[in-house]
């Protein structure tokens, strides 16, 4: 299989096959061509050369409709939902199109949608518009849409990025049930633990080629091997060691409350500390992070920064004044200017610091800083004047980080910083976080549901439940399994 974009090879002689009733996982670094591979199979991208067999039938080219007719169902990485339609209609859209009827049967659509929602135990009003949903809910809708059809091959491109462990478990149950019915599943993920839990066999990609392919029943593969195949390098796991250096906390919350989201949150965060916050979907951790950045206004309690009472933040400016930085959950819509150049992206936060006389920018200093920021991280293949959309997921996240680190924050809040980021980039980012805390003495909060990430970066972790802190743990006193249990409880 070969596929190029403007001459860049995205698929460069990729070979792979999947058998009936097999759960095969496809792993590889960001930008190695996994999603492209999937889009080729689903007919979204035409391929340049190569052969595609589905059910022993040879396709030289394939349209999405043909692919769907062959029983290929895909959960896309970007969900591919219709924001201007309700959940019910989204779930049933593929079916409606495939059936090729003239008249829409609204009642049946709703019935079936409700049925599938119940099956995955996803409680939501099927008449809600998708544009109103958060990332996790959208992901659930995308999953529902794929399994409502009687697929023969189910392709899931990072289906669990926004899900909590409990939901992931539920998804896996469904996947196993489908497997028993003879459905093949192609599973793409960056979460290596998940993969070893669900998959029968592996295909590992690097630079548009398959570098390793295991047969069904080859057994589980050790994590280190996977990583080695993917990146050609070895990674060791590390932890953050915190040495207390200040007596006054950099950030202290006193009974902070946001009606309807969280209540009575009190915590202290010291310089050089990395504090993890985790919990189930809807436990209020996103809201907490956003409140700390002034995106939402707390309804009670107050925030102390470096020992000074600042009340509550009413707008983002209040947070910026206290030198707080926030890396949002959804980098595509909240963190990046996709169509603007990378160079402009990284200075978006600090431009305000370079306003000199008469409001003119101090260009020389700004450009110097810009170059400095751009060279501060290792981003492969980056051309500063190209748009941010030209980068892969992991590199995009690094750009968002650069934008914030340029302002040299005292307090850094990261919301799911490595969603959809490959092991290589992930470990880079984790290292950056640790170094920030250790060397620069930044106080960091990492909001995440990836326990591996928490273990790698934090020295302390809070578990939130229904808007309250249910548990606080030192990272040295716990294990990943324990954390997962506690969070899912």
């Amino acid at each position: 299989m070969y596929k190029s974009f403007y001459g860049a090879m995205a698929l460069d002689g990729m070979n792979f096959e999947i058998n009936e009733g097999e759960i095969r996982c496809l792993i590889g670094e960001n930008g190695c061509g996994k999603s492209t591979m999937i889009k080729v199979i689903s007919g979204f991208h035409p391929f340049d050369s190569g052969e595609l067999y589905i059910n022993d039938k040879l396709y030289k080219k394939i349209t999405p409709a043909e692919s769907i007719a062959e029983g290929v169902q895909v959960i896309y990485q970007d969900f591919s939902l219709f924001p201007n339609m309700t959940i019910a209609e989204n779930i049933m859209m593929y079916a409606t199109v495939a059936e090729g009827r003239t008249i829409v049967r609204w009642k049946k659509i709703r019935e079936k949608a409700v049925e599938i929602l119940q099956r995955v135990q996803f409680e939501i009003d099927p008449d809600t518009y998708v544009s109103k949903l958060n990332v996790a809910q959208k992901q659930m809708v995308a999953i529902c849409r794929a399994i409502v059809q009687n697929a023969r091959l189910l392709i899931m491109d990072e289906p669990t990025t926004a899900l909590t462990n409990r939901e992931v478990e539920r998804l896996f149950e469904i996947v196993r049930r489908l497997q028993q019915e003879g459905v093949s599943v192609l599973f793409v993920s960056h979460k290596l633990d998940e993969i070893s839990e669900i998959c029968d066999s592996y295909t590992i990609m690097r630079n548009g080629k398959n570098v390793f392919q295991s047969e069904k029943g080859d057994g589980k593969m050790p994590r280190e091997d996977m990583v080695r195949y993917m990146t050609g390098k070895k990674f060791t796991s590390e932890t953050h060691v915190y040495v207390k250096r200040d007596s006054v906390p950099a950030l202290k919350l006193n009974a902070l409350t946001l009606d309807g989201a969280f209540e009575d949150i009190s915590l202290s965060l010291y310089k050089g500390e990395v504090l993890g916050i985790t919990g189930l979907l809807g436990c209020g951790r996103t809201e907490l992070a956003e409140t700390l950045f002034g995106l939402r206004q707390a309804t009670g309690g107050n925030i102390d920064v470096s020992g000074k009472n600042t009340g509550v933040f009413r707008r983002v400016d209040d947070a910026l004044k206290n030198n707080i930085a926030y890396v949002p959950e959804d980098r595509l819509t909240e963190g990046l200017y996709l169509e603007q150049s990378i160079a402009d992206n990284v200075i978006a936060r600090i431009v305000r610091n370079y306003a000199g006389k008469c409001g003119l920018l101090r260009m020389k200093a700004l450009k110097k800083k810009q170059r400095e920021v751009l060279s501060s991280m290792n981003v492969a293949g980056m051309v500063p004047k190209n748009p941010a959309s030209s980068l892969s997921g992991g590199n995009q996240q690094k750009i968002v980080l650069m934008k914030w680190l340029a302002s040299e924050p005292d307090i850094l809040i990261l919301n799911c910083p490595t969603v959809g980021v490959d092991v290589g980039a992930k470990s880079d980012i984790h290292k950056i976080i640790r170094d920030l805390a250790r060397e620069k003495g930044v106080a960091v909060i990492v909001v995440s549901n990836d326990m591996y990430e928490i273990m790698q970066t934090c020295n302390r972790v809070l578990i939130m439940k229904e808007g309250r802190i249910s548990k606080e743990l030192d990272i040295r006193d716990t294990t990943m399994d324990e954390l997962e249990l506690l969070a899912a409880e």
């Binding site: 190029s4 974009f5 403007y6 001459g7 860049a8 995106l295 707008r315 983002v316 400016d317 947070a319 910026l320 926030y326 949002p328 819509t333 909240e334 963190g335 990046l336 200017y337 996709l338 169509e339 603007q340 150049s341 160079a343 402009d344 200075i347 978006a348 936060r349 431009v351 305000r352 370079y354 306003a355 409001g359 003119l360 920018l361 260009m363 450009k367 810009q370 500063p384 004047k385 190209n386 030209s390 934008k403």
Partner: protein
């Protein structure tokens, strides 16, 4: 140097393309029309450029922020009317010297204030009340024109002091004062866009308001500033018109709204926000004027002007398409 430039303006394929097109039109017009290169024609074009140019700049800023401003022309007219209402009595009473100077200053301030006021109202409504810019400015266009009509009973206000009108027809170094005004506004805008925090932020807000909010920009204030600029530049345009024609009227230049949009998008302004290029704006303005004057001089009906303007816009877009197509075919990776 080369690197520095691309630092801010990204790939300048647009500028190159517009340069080629403008030069091409110029050459065609010169070869078809021996009078085209005469000094009188060049000066005449300089007299015509400022009106469309200023309105286009006002439009461009609104578009850069991801909106549109349909009220530029009516704001300009109301601003001109307010200045004329102050200047007309001054001319009647034949004031001179310091008093006259005071009146002119007052008139200029009044019209700029009118521009700023309605720019602010537009910006405020768009930023704070979530009204789509196209609708908000369409409504404000109607009521601003309404105010002008109420104030003037639909008639034109004319008869401003000679000393004021003088600047509308006089030239400095062979270039009309109004053209200098346009040049200055262009220069100021270029500085504003490329050298100030506002310029950077308005571009970013236009590209993605949500990310801008999450980056700590005060997007409401930026919207308001963008429309404030638009209102003030419209008012300046109103003043330029008043200088040149000695008249202010509720519906003067009402067809320029569409032309300003056309000029802006031809000048590489993205109507979805996030991109605007001053150099392209200059070129687009010039090429439209070359076409318009060229056809008029060939005594071809002005129908041809519109026809070619539309064609030009589609042609430029087609060039984009075909170059992208060819690049893809050739497989040159150069995004």
């Amino acid at each position: 140097m080369k690197k520095e430039k691309s630092f801010w303006s990204g790939a300048d394929r647009d500028v190159m393309k517009m340069t080629v097109i403008t030069v091409l039109i110029f050459v065609i017009m010169v070869s078809m029309n021996e009078k085209f290169l005469r000094a009188s024609n060049l000066t005449s074009m300089c007299f015509q450029l400022p009106e469309l140019g200023l309105y286009s700049l006002a439009m461009m800023m609104a578009m850069l922020s991801g909106g549109i401003d349909l009220s530029v022309v009516s704001t300009g007219n109301l601003a001109a009317i307010s200045a004329a209402l102050i200047l007309h009595p001054a001319a009647e009473n034949e004031v001179t010297g310091g008093v006259l100077f005071g009146c002119v200053i007052l008139a200029v301030l009044a019209s700029l204030a009118v521009g700023a006021l309605f720019g602010f109202i537009n910006g405020f409504v768009i930023a704070n009340l979530n009204v789509p810019p196209m609708l908000a400015t369409m409504a404000s266009q109607t009521f601003i024109k309404g105010i002008s009509i109420i104030v003037t009973q639909g008639k034109s206000v004319s008869g401003t002091p000679e000393q004021f009108v003088y600047f509308g027809s006089a030239t400095l170094l062979g270039i009309p004062y109004t053209m200098w005004l346009l040049i200055v506004v262009f220069a100021v805008t270029a500085v504003l866009l490329y050298r100030t925090r506002f310029g950077f932020e308005v571009k970013m807000v236009g590209a993605n308001p949500k990310t801008s909010h999450f980056t700590g920009m005060n997007i409401k204030r930026i919207y308001i500033k963008a429309y404030l600029y638009s209102g003030i530049v419209s008012a300046i345009c109103g003043l330029a018109i008043l200088m040149r024609t000695d008249t202010a009227k509720a519906d003067y230049a009402s067809t320029y709204v569409m032309q300003a949009i056309l000029c802006s998008v031809l000048g590489a302004t993205n109507p979805d926000g996030g991109t605007a290029k001053i150099s392209c704006m200059v070129l687009s303005l010039l090429s439209l004027q070359f076409l318009s004057s060229g056809f008029n001089m060939m005594h071809l009906s002005s129908y041809f002007k519109e026809f070619t303007w539309g064609l030009l816009l589609i042609a430029v877009l087609s060039i984009n398409f075909f170059t992208a197509y060819i690049r893809q075919k050739r497989g040159l990776h150069k995004a």
